[in-house]
Symmetry: C2
Subunit: 216 residues, 2 copies
């Protein structure tokens, strides 16, 4: 599962060490979907994925469901507040479950044996669908809800890493961090002010690595 952000790019680099890749991207009428799709395509090119091993699925229905600043243009993306305790308004209700469903269906059709997802629990935006408890529950639902001879592992290699460790891991594995996109708000240059930009910038700084993308 490759959104095109930092975490999913590093997860792809980890998966590429031990698995043949198939890369899945998901657009859901989110603000920066064109830029994220570009990041996906460039990273898939970097890993020389053939056309039948990359899939972009469109799930615009999130805009119909609403309830998030990422899919409802009437709700502005807030400036970062990493001390906030509640779930932020950028939370797209149950989004990762949808994404995991898409990955599971495609994996079952492909005959794939593992799904890699780059969720991060502690050092992230506080979304409930990024927790280990959620991933473990969903893994049981995959096992129960697919064909008896289908067995798909859900692998979340970053879940307990700090963002700075993710940057270091990506650098060690020569992950194409220069091709990633993290900003929630802009598509030309990163805003540097939303939660996602602030978390990313802090991670690169703590890792002692230069962030190769441009900021406004």
């Amino acid at each position: 599962m490759l959104s095109g952000g930092l975490d999913s790019c590093v997860t792809t680099a980890i998966a590429a060490q031990s698995h043949d890749l198939a890369l899945l991207h998901f657009t859901y009428a989110q603000r920066t979907q064109n830029r994220e799709r570009q990041a996906f395509t460039e990273i898939a090119d970097f890993y020389s994925l053939p056309g039948d091993r990359r899939l972009i699925l469109n799930a615009d229905y999130f805009a119909q469901i609403g309830g998030s600043a990422l899919t409802d243009l009437g709700i502005p993306v807030p400036e970062a507040d990493l001390t906030r305790k509640e779930v932020p308004i950028t939370y797209v209700p149950f989004r990762n479950a949808h994404l995991l469903c898409l990955a599971t269906s495609w994996a079952e059709v492909l005959g794939a044996r593992s799904i890699f997802m780059g969720v991060v629990q502690e050092d992230s935006s506080g979304y409930p669908d990024c927790t280990e408890a959620f991933c473990k529950a969903f893994a049981l639902a995959i096992e129960a809800g697919t064909r008896p001879d289908t067995h798909i592992d859900l692998i979340t290699p970053l879940i307990h890493l700090h963002k700075s460790q993710i940057v270091k891991t990506g650098k060690d594995l020569n992950a194409p961090l220069h091709l990633t996109w993290s900003c929630y708000d802009r598509e030309d240059v990163a805003c540097g002010r939303c939660d996602s930009c602030i978390l990313r910038l802090r991670a690169f700084e703590q890792a002692g690595v230069r962030d190769p993308i441009l900021y406004q």
Copy 2:
């Protein structure tokens, strides 16, 4: 969750006894999607649902994922074979998980406290995502993957009923069975030959109730 078939119609009638309704329908480029959408709309009208309490979500991406006779026009719908042991080709990989994700996201936005789904385990087509084990695992994923103050029960009132009991329950509750659509293959009159038609016809016969829809 109202597909417009027999089971979801009876489930709606059960839910209506104790809950204020919001009805969700899901089209996924399946063969009979226009006829199923019509059934949904007519049943929603029957229950006098206002516009903001009915939602039709389109998830055409199933056709891109493929692997099922219901979404791939290159794979014919087989004639019924109720002695078959393996999962049938009409299985849409992990479909009910997708549908539950949509229901969960909308429920979280609405502030709903229950999701009713009309799955039937034993007396049905043998899909893995219609089992109690799957529903229980998914219920845990809902609890873990939504906001801390979101608590949504997944209720499956038909899961251990025989189809004939479902018909009787629907009749007792005055469910609008005449508005339902079950056929996998046709949209004008039901084919009477696919798994879904055969299961339905047998259920009405065993219940001693006349099936009010037309067959070819």
